[in-house]
C-alpha cells in the first residue's frame, strides 16, 4: 500500500517560504500571482495491503510525527499502487 500525507501550515500561521516564492514569481514578471503557500508531503510505502488499516496507521503517523498540530494541518490520501 502507498499513502500520501499532505502537511500545510494552518492558514493563521504566516508562511515565509510561500511568501518568498510569491515575491520571486512577481519579480520574474508573473504579476497575476496573488499568493503562494508552500506545503510538504510524504509518500509512505507500507507492507500489507488492507486499505482501511493502512489509512488508520498512516493517520496515526501523521498525528504523532509527521505534522505538528500547533502550526500544521494534514490530510491523508491512499494511493492505488
Amino acid at each position: 500500500m502507498r499513502a500520501r500525507v499532505y502537511v500545510t501550515l494552518k492558514p493563521s500561521v504566516f508562511d515565509p517560504q510561500g511568501r518568498v516564492v510569491a515575491d520571486a514569481l512577481l519579480s520574474l514578471g508573473y504579476e497575476d500571482v496573488k499568493d503562494v503557500r508552500q506545503g510538504k508531503f510524504f509518500e509512505v510505502e507500507l507492507d500489507g495491503g488492507d486499505p482501511a488499516t493502512a489509512e488508520a496507521r498512516v493517520t496515526e503517523m501523521a498525528e504523532k510525527l509527521l505534522a505538528n498540530p500547533v502550526i500544521e494541518s494534514y490530510r491523508v490520501e491512499l494511493l492505488r499502487s
Partner: protein, 242 residues
C-alpha cells in the same frame, strides 16, 4: 555543580555547552540520547545543533529519544532545564514549552551577534541578571521564528513567561531588531513552573571575550548560583511515582 548535556545524533553545540560550563568552573557531563537515565545532574542542557538533521521539523524526531523521558521527569520535579536553539525546538516539540518554530521570516539561516533583552529574572537561568539587561549573544538558526496561537501568546505575556526578547542595543524593540520575525520579538520563554527555559540565541558560545562576547556567562552562572543556594533544585525522584 553538574550540568548534564544531552547529545542527540546531529547535536553540534553539545561540546560547546560543556566547555562553557567548564570555563565557569562547573562540571559538565555528556549524556547520550539513547540512555534512559540522566545520572548525576543538577541542571540539564539540551544543546544546539541539527538533531536528526532537522529533516522533518526541528526537534520533531529528537523528542522521541529514550532520554527525553528522564528529561521530562527531571523537569516535572522542578529541575532546571535549558534548551538552547535546537534544544529549545526539542522542548517545543516535546510539549515541555508551548508554541512552535517556523522558518525565519526571510527563510535564510542567520548567524550574527544580536542584542537580547532579559525580561524576567525569576528563572534559574536569569536569576543573576538585572531586569532589562541587554546581552550581546550570537544567533545561528534558520528556524527561529517563534509562533504560538494568540491566546497562548497572551497567556505567556500575562504570566511573565517571555524571558528573552530581541531588541536594539538600548533594549528597545524596533522594526529592525527582530532578526527572524518571532511574535512579540520572543527570543526565549519558560514554562509555567519557570524551571524550564528555552531560547534561540547561544549563551554558551559567548562565554569568553575573544569569541566576541562573554555576556552569555550569566545564563549558566545564574543556574549555578541558584542551584547552590537551593532556589532551583529538582525534588528527589518519588519512588512512589509509578
Amino acid at each position: 555543580m553538574t550540568f548534564a548535556v544531552v547529545v542527540f545524533p546531529g547535536s553540534n553545540s553539545d561540546r560547546d555547552a560543556a566547555e562553557a560550563a567548564r570555563v565557569l568552573g562547573e562540571r559538565a557531563r555528556l549524556v547520550w540520547h539513547k540512555d534512559t537515565e540522566l545520572g548525576e545532574a543538577d541542571a540539564v542542557i539540551l544543546p544546539g545543533g541539527f538533531a536528526h538533521g532537522d529533516y522533518l521539523r526541528t526537534g520533531a524526531i529528537a523528542r522521541f529519544s529514550p532520554i527525553m523521558g528522564a528529561v521530562a521527569d527531571f523537569a516535572e520535579r522542578g529541575g532546571p532545564v535549558l534548551g538552547i536553539c535546537n534544544g529549545f525546538q526539542v522542548l517545543l516539540e516535546a510539549g515541555l514549552l508551548p508554541g512552535a518554530m517556523v522558518r525565519n521570516r526571510d527563510i535564510k539561516f542567520r548567524c550574527e551577534f544580536v542584542p537580547v533583552r532579559v525580561d524576567q529574572v525569576d528563572t534559574p537561568f536569569t536569576s543573576a541578571c538585572a531586569p532589562g539587561q541587554v546581552l550581546h549573544l550570537p544567533i545561528a538558526h534558520g528556524e527561529g521564528n517563534y509562533y504560538a496561537p494568540p491566546d497562548v501568546v497572551e497567556s505567556l505575556e500575562a504570566n511573565r513567561q517571555v524571558i528573552f526578547r530581541y531588541t536594539d542595543r538600548s533594549g528597545a524593540m524596533t522594526e529592525g531588531s527582530n532578526p527572524n520575525g518571532s511574535v512579540h520579538a520572543i527570543a526565549g520563554i519558560c514554562n509555567a513552573a519557570r524551571n524550564v527555559v528555552g531560547l534561540m540565541p547561544h549563551p554558551e558560545r559567548a562565554c569568553e571575550a575573544p569569541l566576541g562576547s562573554d555576556d552569555g556567562r550569566i545564563v549558566l552562572a545564574s543556574a549555578a548560583e541558584a542551584i547552590r543556594d537551593g532556589r532551583f533544585r529538582a525534588r528527589p525522584a518519588a519512588a512512589a511515582s509509578r
